[in-house]
Symmetry: C2
Subunit: 208 residues, 2 copies
DNA sequence: GCAATTTTGTGATTTAATTGACAGACTTTT
DNA sequence: AAAAGTCTGTCAATTAAATCACAAAATTGC
């Protein structure tokens, strides 16, 4: 177990391990070797062992890994040991879609939804009432919100991000096509740039 | 201009170049050096030059790059020179959100939406009527669909993917939390694993 | 039109990521 | 309880990606 800085490429593989281990657990499999896992998950066995060893020696020679233990360990590494409070800004279709995802089972607790559209304000999604955007800052402070799901239009994105930064939100899950400029280095921004993803498809499709 | 295989890391940067060049174009800027672009986009100047040179020498010494030309070139590289026909499978909030995105301006033309929910079937989103899922295969063949946006639940994902592969769809934009197994190597699968993205956030948040 | 400046394109170097290899620890079999 | 087999953890080697450095080509300023 090295304790240097873990690279982003490793971190981005962790959720996949977590998903596959959950599947194995659900199937009642309680033991797996890096070789078997490599065949299911599609990474090399060597990479799996190397990845896991960044965080600790979870396996045992001659045996492999205990699926439940490893699942729990990776859950801990991924920060799933405690709940996070989340808000959704922009309660259109995308915001509503995110509200309906079962992120709660992983500890992501939705505490507020916000929009500027009078037709949406007052509606309830999963028991959460959509409130006007001018309530956002106040509510974030009161509830100590950890993560904001940013689903506004392009035009509002940066302004909302600025407001979120000021009221102590510690991460922004950014679904807008904007690359946000955040002054506070400690605020985490995770982009889901759908158009970038779609253009990657068209790159590969173009001469087929 | 090398014509070996372009690495995935380079390809995934191309849409970002495209977005920033569009912004510059809209601002009326018609000339930019790799150094200036690096300050805006956050890659090194060297990387920008190296990336672009995978596809051709688009710049000029002492001048830099012509913004409009470069924007158009990258559009061509990304396959935006021709339209793609798309369908959405799963017309819930996420499917509807995707239908309402303006992917059309980039040439992604929505030709069908499908769902199994009787309450959704018959509704129209952006002029597209939601049809029952059993019409999917037939329609894909008739319309020669290029890309399917897969927004079903976890349980249906693999079955739908199998059907899509059989009816000639050439790419699947996968929003389900499933890693699809596709026998046809030529079918492109682009995953948008939201839960993986969210867990990356919690990784960084966990001990803050 | 000449000198100074800018800036690309590209080969060389450095850094990062992946894969290979194997000693040693543990398990299983007999 | 010994022998045979399994499989990790880790170091070494390889491959890939990013950065550096600079000659050559073009531009700009005088």
């Amino acid at each position: 177990m090295t304790n240097g800085k873990i690279s982003m490429t490793v971190i981005r593989r962790l959720p996949k391990y977590h998903r596959y281990l959950k599947d194995l657990l659900d199937k009642g499999i309680n033991r797996i070797s890096s070789k078997e896992l490599s065949e299911i998950i599609g990474f090399t066995a060597s990479q799996i062992r190397q990845d896991l060893n960044n965080f600790g020696g979870f396996g045992q020679q001659g045996y492999g890994y205990n699926v439940e233990d490893l699942f729990n360990e990776i859950g801990l590494i991924l920060g799933l040991s405690r709940p996070y409070k989340t808000v959704i800004i922009g309660a259109g279709n995308l915001g509503q879609a995110l509200a309906n995802y079962d992120f709660e089972v992983h500890g992501f607790q939705l505490v507020g939804m916000y929009d500027v559209d009078e037709n949406l304000i007052g509606r309830k999604i999963k028991g959460i009432e959509i409130k006007p955007s001018n309530r956002l800052v106040e509510d974030c402070v009161i509830h100590n919100v950890d993560i904001a799901y940013l689903c506004t239009n392009r035009e509002s994105a940066q302004n909302v991000a600025n407001a979120l930064t000021k009221c102590g939100v510690r991460a922004i899950w950014n679904f807008t096509p904007v690359d946000l400029k955040i002054s506070d280095e400690s605020v985490i921004v995770e982009d889901v740039h759908l158009i970038d993803s779609l253009l990657t498809i068209s790159y590969f499709l173009k001469d087929r």
